[in-house]
Symmetry: C2
Subunit: 387 residues, 2 copies
């Protein structure tokens, strides 16, 4: 493996002014050695955002090979103890009673107004021990505050668990080479324990891509480099590459990003998560009364796809207004957008008013470059023939 010298450390830090506050991960040195050309910050931690290949080249590779992603920024909020199940259920409208140990569950976290606070994946490790694998917000403080305020008998902590994702159609072959054939039987959104270098690690069949994949919840930071190197060596015949969440794949696949597609201003019914909302009173959730009222009043907007014309669109750094094509009335906003080389159109994730949210409605997208682009509302994920 390539060593890192001081000059390289300087280079990759350009533009972000690295400090302890923006935490490095057990894999950052490897990611730097592979030439990461940019980072984002999620949960006070580095997330690589690009390597030497373009986003489009990365996209095609993700659909054919296998990639290693440093997603340690998906921090775990561990909730354990006698009241753990009660606290976790209180935080989400998703009915957790059917959940068994070994499942991963995608779910909304809401406040008392039904506002989205996060959309983590829950791992049920035991009847009294859970991990929330979180998007970008300090769920740790929320859970600690609730527990302390309500006097619940729980421990809330952020363990030193740093997910490494292995994504792409050849992920299963790579994982089997390192963790044994048994891993092939792991079902989607299930996790189990597997051995690595004398340790037992949680591995889930999951990931933030449309492709097959796994997430290794490494709880031994000092093994980060060894884990990366072992996967890399085993992947040399499998077209392995360094990667990161790919914007084209994410938008095409309709994978939401907390802070982008939704904020505290949105509720899960607007975010297409009605199937994760048990609102008949069978479960006790903080936002229950608010969500019941929203349901009674009728949801006024919802996340949709928008397929739109013109040259490849610029980066969507701020929401872009969407208007009804017919009368120019406000119809919502695009919150993430990118050019899809597969569909040969721009694709966007958008919050769309109910008047316009039916697939096929025609809209105008006002992108940041000042261009007005003709668009069509679609269901998600995007498909070849939005018909």
């Amino acid at each position: 493996m390539v060593g890192l010298n001081a000059a390289q450390t300087q280079r990759v830090s350009t533009g972000l002014n690295l400090s302890r506050r923006i935490r490095r991960t057990p894999y950052t040195a490897r990611v730097e050695a592979h030439g990461a050309s940019g980072f984002s910050v999620v949960n006070h931690m580095l997330l690589p955002k690009a390597f030497q290949r373009s986003v489009e080249e990365d996209y095609w590779h993700l659909h054919t090979g296998v990639q290693l992603w440093d997603v340690a920024c998906q921090r775990q909020v561990e909730i354990s103890g006698p009241d753990a199940a009660r606290l976790v259920q209180w935080m989400t409208p998703r009915d957790l009673r059917p959940a068994t140990v070994g499942v991963c569950l995608y779910l909304p976290l809401v406040d008392q107004h039904g506002g989205m606070l996060n959309d983590p994946v829950l791992l049920k490790l035991a009847e009294d021990r859970y991990w929330l694998s979180i998007a970008d917000a300090d769920v740790l403080l929320w859970a600690k505050g609730l527990a302390l305020g309500a006097g619940l008998a729980v421990q809330v902590d952020e363990p030193a668990v740093s997910p490494l994702a292995v994504q792409g159609p050849r992920a299963e072959d790579l994982m089997a080479a390192v963790f044994g054939e048994r891993i092939r039987a792991l079902r989607h959104f299930r996790f189990a324990g597997f051995d690595f270098d004398g340790t037992r690690q949680v591995i889930g069949r999951s990931g933030y891509s449309t492709q097959d994949g796994f997430e290794i919840y490494l709880d031994t930071p000092e093994l980060g480099a060894a884990l990366w190197d072992t996967l890399w060596a085993a992947g040399e015949t499998l077209d392995v590459a360094p990667g990161c969440p790919n914007l084209i794949d994410r938008v095409e696949g309709g994978l939401l990003s907390y802070g982008n597609e939704m904020t505290r201003e949105n509720n899960p019914l607007e975010c297409g998560m009605a199937r994760y909302c048990r609102l008949d009173g069978a479960v006790d959730c903080i936002g229950l009364a608010a969500l019941q009222a929203i349901e009674r009043g009728g949801v006024q907007r919802q996340i949709r796809g928008v397929l739109f014309d013109g040259d490849p669109c610029p980066p969507c750094g701020e929401p872009w207004a969407v208007r009804a094509r017919a009368d120019g009335c406000p119809a919502g906003q695009v919150t993430s957008a990118v050019y899809s080389p597969r569909l040969q159109r721009n694709v966007g994730l958008a919050m769309i008013a109910r008047e316009l949210w039916e697939p096929g409605q025609t809209v105008t997208v006002l992108s940041a470059d000042g261009v007005k682009r003709n668009g069509t509302v679609t269901t998600l994920p995007f498909t070849e023939d939005p018909g």
Copy 2:
């Protein structure tokens, strides 16, 4: 004022992949037009980190002229309602009973273990209304969780308030030109209301530098550009420049940074905040029992300055080990460091074990470039003659 074209937007986003999740501020367009060359992320929001001048040039300018800083990322957590005073006091060991409306108070926020959750400045707006002007962590979620869990009668929210700092020895002249002569009478760490463009804005005499300065808590985002431009125009004869928190000034002045000098693993007694800890039971704070126990057991480490030799040190992206010079035993870690052109030595903020924390103790700093540097423990702030 210079307009921003799409190419410029592209340029400044390089390396950070801007998205809605990393929020722009009411001043970002102005900061970009002034050629900001890098950003950091604080509270899910952009903080400019450099302009066209070097950190050293910026440092000298900060000590002679006046600078405009986009510190909108210092978000306000507003706590209001009948139980507001009770909740705010519960969050901090600082005795808030003497606080009057109009004061700014620096204070530690702690959890039930006495661990630091933040070090905001509190603005008491009314007997039942407070702002916590926060460092980088979602205090909003902590306060909301505590309030909801304990059933307190409060509102907790993040208003659209975006501080713009005016820092430097000529800040008072600039502020007087824009807000009137009355502002000269505003005392350090006091705030009051001042008029701007038909609105009333909170302005405090405060800021994250060693120099005189003010922070304008603009609550009208659409006036961001006008506020910037008005200050800029009035500053043309006062050597105004765009700026940002300056690492040299911050370290020399012993100004702490949450996430750098301290984390949840540290308590306020370690962070030199004993004077903000009322531990005799007169106030009801979450961490009271834990802090009393820590005080009884004796504090084992504390933040100090370290003055150290050698070429200008590299950026301190991760803590650097500090060892006792005499016997090589672990003595702590440097958490922020930079070369001081005034002292012509490297200066660092460090958490130092009690055995070595007396000024004058000799230590070795192991910086990231592999160099072992001779250092001396000092009090803070750093002075010309550390004695």
